[in-house]
Amino acid sequence: MTAAVASSVLWPEALIDQEILAGGLALIPALMLAHYRGWRIVTVLLGVGLVALIVMHLSPLLLGVSLRGPFLILFVVAPYISIALGAGWFGEVRRYQAELRATQLQLIQSEKLDSVGRMAAGVAHEVKNPLMMILTGIKVLAKRLPAQDEQTRLLLQDMEDAVERADRIIGGLLNYSRDRDLDLALADLNDTIERSAMLVKHDLENAHITLVSNLEQGLPRLQLDEFKMQQVFVNLVSNAIHAIERDGEIRITTSLEKMTSGALVGHRKTDRFSRGERVVVVRIEDSGPGIPEEYLEKIFDPFFSTKPTGRGTGLGLSVSQQIVEMHGGTIDVGNQDTGGARVTVTLKVDREETPS
């Protein structure tokens, strides 16, 4: 391009070939767009075309003959190539805008979690002491109670349950203010999932829910804090159980995949995965009613819960998200086409160990 412009300036008589100049100018943005989008072959072809145009433009001066004939087709196709790539580029811009919005929402969510964590650290100590006083008082009174006073005993039991519930909420809150270091070690994710499943076996049986595991064998071992990741899978399966309530199926699958697209896939600093990066994906699908669209945006908000009062703290998914993100992964919640919810946990396969 520089050469073409320079030649036009240096040899004003060359400017008479306006068609060649127009073709060249149309090729330049096409070339830039193709380069930006990473289409190497198109970039090379357009580059060759541009060089050809420059040669053609200068041929009467340099070679004494005009070479424009064979390259006329470039004048016709160059503007169309530019328009096509430009349209694609605008699509790309829109996609990046959507991704930017998703990233911003994620940052807001992180900030929200941090605020909750700071608050939790402050209030936990103050709340746990009165809870202990109440609990001990209940126990003293229960011991003094005449055996026949069943109603008062029930009342005391309700009070004790209330203390336990408050303690659970505080315990969940404290998870936010904990040291965020992970106790990482190479681990088999399938084993972690199976151990988590054992912890909810009783709940599954009580609700007559079948757990179907389809775990890909030979997955690379991952750097995991097994205890925390177990907490994630227990939370997710427990949520699925609550969603189904009774008689249904939960499917857990694991697979080794390559990241191709998504809001956090790319080469920018804010992207969590790069294109083509190997990841292990865990999908937990249930046969429940699915999640209403209006809930999906706030599903990770602390204290957001669709469970009846007293059954959930509304922190399970928030904690799970925090843990997965601490592992450099992502967690997504959505609905399956066939109904029921699907939670997808995506974990990086960096610092992996070759499967044995």
Binding site: N129, T136, K139, R168
Partner: protein, 128 residues
């Protein structure tokens, strides 16, 4: 066998009052209460407990430093100490025996039955 001598050190008077009541009524214990951390060492010297339940966060003393002082006191050296703390949740201990600075701890809010069990497990046996 004589009663176990238990020293409760916690700045929350309501907790020590209720716990002392429970342990006295339901365990074979003699309980001494101290709500000021700064006076805990003196209370321990005078009461000579078989076990000390020690709050970690108190306005006028640090439970960890107090434990070190108690262990370095010739008259109290070897006295078992169990921390009471609101810093760790009961769920995190997973029911397993965990320690802070080498001392076992109970996470608040702790069931008084658990406190009794802890006395059975950790209190020093004395025949005289």
């Amino acid at each position: 066998m004589r009663k176990r001598r238990i020293l409760l050190v916690d700045d929350e008077a309501s907790i020590t009052r209720a716990l002392a009541m429970y342990l006295t009524e339901n365990g074979d214990c003699e309980v001494c209460v101290e709500n000021r951390g700064s006076r805990a060492l003196a209370a321990a010297r005078s009461f000579k407990p078989d076990l000390i339940f020690l709050d970690i966060v108190m306005p006028d003393a640090d439970g960890g430093a107090l434990a070190a002082e108690i262990q370095s006191d010739p008259a109290l050296k070897g006295t078992p100490i169990v921390f009471l703390t609101a810093l760790v949740s009961r769920r995190e201990t997973g029911g397993a025996t965990m320690t802070i600075g080498g001392y076992p701890f109970l996470a608040k809010p702790v069931h008084p039955e658990t406190v009794l069990a802890s006395i059975g497990e950790h209190a020093r046996e004395r025949t005289n």
